[in-house]
């Protein structure tokens, strides 16, 4: 390890703090890059934003168009326009959605809680099941169970989510009528008082167990469908991560000194495999966001995935870029948190 802080004059910052600063810097750069990408994409679009915004009557008036252009900075050279775009973004101005006619930011704020609830439950579900299956497969390596789990997890990553959602909805709602046909809560029920905007938590806070149950009932199918891909992915990854540590000498030593197998797995194997398993969570989150775009429409889930779907179908560019921007920011932030967690768990990372 480097002799940090030995030079005397100035104590070097705590390695974790340095990791934090380094990652924060990278994150800011990435965000800038993302804004550049969306800017380039939106400027590529053929068409005249001024005429689109002013409408057919005022759009014929050259003076009005010029005024609109100068008001929105469109008469400036491109680098300046990028800065204008950036400052708009910083003020939360993502443009106005063509399909809803409201600012994209307002739309996003309205739709985010539903997706957040779905994503969190789904990632939790997928992590629990995926890690369980992966550990089981690794411990019973090369047995029939391992083979079966291999096919199951490959099946999970191979199934098209949008199709799985449809099949599950068809069976669960249409044929057997075990689950509601979509939405977050019964259409006639009054949504719980909004504190977190996550229905399950809000209902719990309100002490309304029936509403909590109803919210969970509505969540079950879409969350399970979204989890399918991640279960397969996490299971495969966990299996590899566990196999990587299972043959180490310290594991053998733990076995040799007579610790019960369960303790060895929990305290030595899983502990060592934990850092790489944390890393996978970032990918799991990306998988959920991708899946949300594809299945929220099927389950009439009022989230940003469904919003993005409708935006895509109607080619509503401000809305699509807004969602992209938001998703990228979430994804980067999640990965930032994971990187830092990784550093907390595994001290070797902090130095690198």
């Amino acid at each position: 390890m480097t002799a940090s802080g030995v030079t005397g004059r100035r104590r070097a910052a705590h390695p974790l703090a340095r990791l934090l600063v380094r990652r924060l810097g990278a994150m800011v750069l990435l965000l800038l890059g993302i804004s550049l990408v969306t800017f380039v994409l939106t400027s590529l679009v053929p068409g005249d934003p001024a005429r689109a915004a002013l409408g057919p009557v005022q759009g014929e008036d050259e003076a009005a168009v010029a005024a609109w252009n100068s008001r929105n900075g469109l008469d400036k050279p491109i680098p300046v326009r990028y800065l204008v775009y950036l400052s708009n973004l910083l003020r939360g101005d993502l443009g106005v959605s063509q399909q809803t006619g409201t600012p994209v930011l307002d739309d996003l704020i309205a739709y985010i809680p539903a997706t957040a609830e779905l994503a969190i439950i789904s990632v939790l579900l997928a992590s629990l099941i995926g890690v369980g299956l992966g550990v089981a497969a690794a411990l019973r390596r090369d047995t029939l169970l391992d083979q079966v789990l291999r096919v199951v997890s490959l099946g999970g990553v191979s199934v098209p989510v949008f199709w799985l959602g449809l099949i599950v909805l068809y069976l669960g709602f249409f044929v057997f009528d075990l689950f509601p046909g979509g939405g977050r809560i019964d259409p006639l029920a009054i949504p719980p008082a909004e504190i977190t905007h996550l229905y399950t938590l809000d209902a719990l806070f309100a002490g309304d167990l029936a509403a909590t149950g109803a919210a969970l009932h509505h969540l079950a199918l879409p969350a399970a469908v979204l989890a399918a891909y991640n279960i397969g992915y996490i299971a495969r990854f966990t299996r590899t991560a566990v196999l990587e540590v299972i043959n180490h000498d310290y594991v053998r030593a733990a076995h040799a000194k007579g610790l019960p197998a369960r303790t060895v797995v929990r305290r030595y194997v899983l502990r060592a495999a934990l850092p790489s398993m944390i890393q996978i969570l970032g990918f799991a989150f990306a998988g959920v966001l991708t899946g949300a775009v594809l299945i929220e429409a099927i389950f009439s889930w009022p989230g940003i995935g469904g919003y993005a779907y409708r935006a895509a179908v109607s080619l509503d560019l401000p809305a699509i870029t807004g969602v992209t921007m938001f998703v990228a920011v979430v994804y980067i932030s999640v990965n930032f948190v994971i990187d830092v967690l990784y550093g907390v768990i595994d001290p070797r990372i902090r130095a690198g």
Binding site: A26, L29, L30, G33, I34, V37, T38, L41, L44, V45, R141, D142, Q147, R150, V151, L154, G155, V157, S158, V159, P160, V161, F162, W163, L164, L166, I167, L169, Y170, F174, T240, L243, E244, A286, G287, L289, T290, V293, L294, A297, I298, A308, Y309, A312, V313, L315, L317, I320, T321, V323, T324, V327, A328, Y331, I332
Partner: protein, 328 residues
């Protein structure tokens, strides 16, 4: 075994010809040959290769096979699966079975093209980054980081929306999001191989950088990268059909699997309209993923951890003479 008479002491007795190991050139590509045979011994590989071949055949023979064709509307709407219409008919009275078969003609070539384009772009850029390092490397890798920051389908959605929805544009959009994966892996491989002694030796002998890159480095990364590409074909089909499902890929009335599933969402009670195209996607993606997984097992024992690694029996001794020839 007794030494046959007439052989000098200390030499290996010559076996009768039928017990000799055939010379290396008869044994095919040596290392690769053994691995290919190992592949055939795995039932999963055999099954998945069969499924893929069946789909390829279906794609090739779809126009020749008897059937009403993908666009013919000569049956009633929403007929349930029956002897005449194995998979039923859709909202316009088209035969779902024919459409599923024809769907293979869209999905498979497009997926191959998508993977090939990203492979080429990623390999070229990754090799440049890994070989020249320096600013080329940092710029390209930051670009990769940037593209990694977008969850695939969302960025692809923007790109297709900007370019205009069509299958080709969907594929191009997906190339933009998938080349960085290849670039990063190729870069890593090129760096590890570029540091190998035989490459430095060639460079010190005065061979140009470009020639070592093409003649020494690239052949050595071809195997792993091709395995990766196979692994990726399934994902490519999924992404392409996903974009079509969103209405950003194939446009009606094309027979494309994702589009067909999407049309089924409006006719919920007629389950066959979207079930069969979805099963088609599932089966072919699963086959590619199983094949990729087995390939990785066979070709990359480091990450597969199956037993019987055969412990590199023979031929792994490092080339010490080659190394010393380089040192001044």
């Amino acid at each position: 075994m007794s030494t046959p008479p007439g052989t000098a002491p200390g030499t290996v007795p010559l076996r009768p010809f039928w017990r000799r190991r055939p010379p290396a050139r008869w044994r095919g590509g040596g290392r690769l040959d053994g691995r290919t045979r190992a592949l055939w011994r795995r039932p999963m590989a055999v099954i998945s290769i069969t499924v893929i071949l069946v789909w390829l055949l279906a794609a090739a023979l779809a126009p020749v096979l008897p059937g009403p064709g993908p666009l013919a509307q000569d049956a009633g709407r929403f007929e349930a699966p029956s002897g005449t219409h194995w998979f039923g008919t859709d909202e316009l009275g088209r035969d779902v079975f024919s459409r599923v078969l024809y769907g293979a003609r869209t999905s498979l070539p497009l997926a191959v093209m998508l993977v090939a384009l990203s492979l080429v772009a990623g390999t070229v850029l990754g090799a440049l980054a890994g070989y020249f390092r320096g600013w080329v490397d940092s710029v390209l890798m930051r670009l990769c980081d940037l593209l990694f920051a977008f969850p695939g389908i969302v960025l692809a959605m923007v790109v297709t929306a900007v370019l205009g929805p069509s299958v080709t544009n969907a594929m191009l959009a997906l190339v933009i999001i998938s080349w960085p994966w290849y670039a990063r892996i190729v870069r890593g491989l090129v760096i590890s191989i570029g540091d190998a002694e035989y490459v430095s030796a060639r460079r010190l002998l005065g061979v140009s950088a470009r020639r070592t890159l093409v003649e020494d480095v690239l052949p050595n990364i071809a195997g792993p990268v091709l395995v990766l590409a196979t692994l990726d074909l399934g994902g490519a089909i999924l992404l392409l059909s996903g974009l079509s499902f969103l209405g950003l890929g194939a446009q009606p009335p094309a027979a494309e699997w994702g589009l067909m599933v999407s049309s089924g969402t409006q006719y919920f009670q007629f389950w066959w309209v979207s079930t069969f195209p979805g099963l088609a996607i599932f089966s072919v993606v699963l086959a590619f993923n199983c094949l990729g997984d087995t390939l990785r097992d066979v070709f990359d024992p480091q990450t597969s951890f199956t037993r019987a690694p055969s412990a590199g029996a023979g031929g792994t001794a490092p080339d010490k003479t080659g190394g010393s020839a380089v040192t001044p």
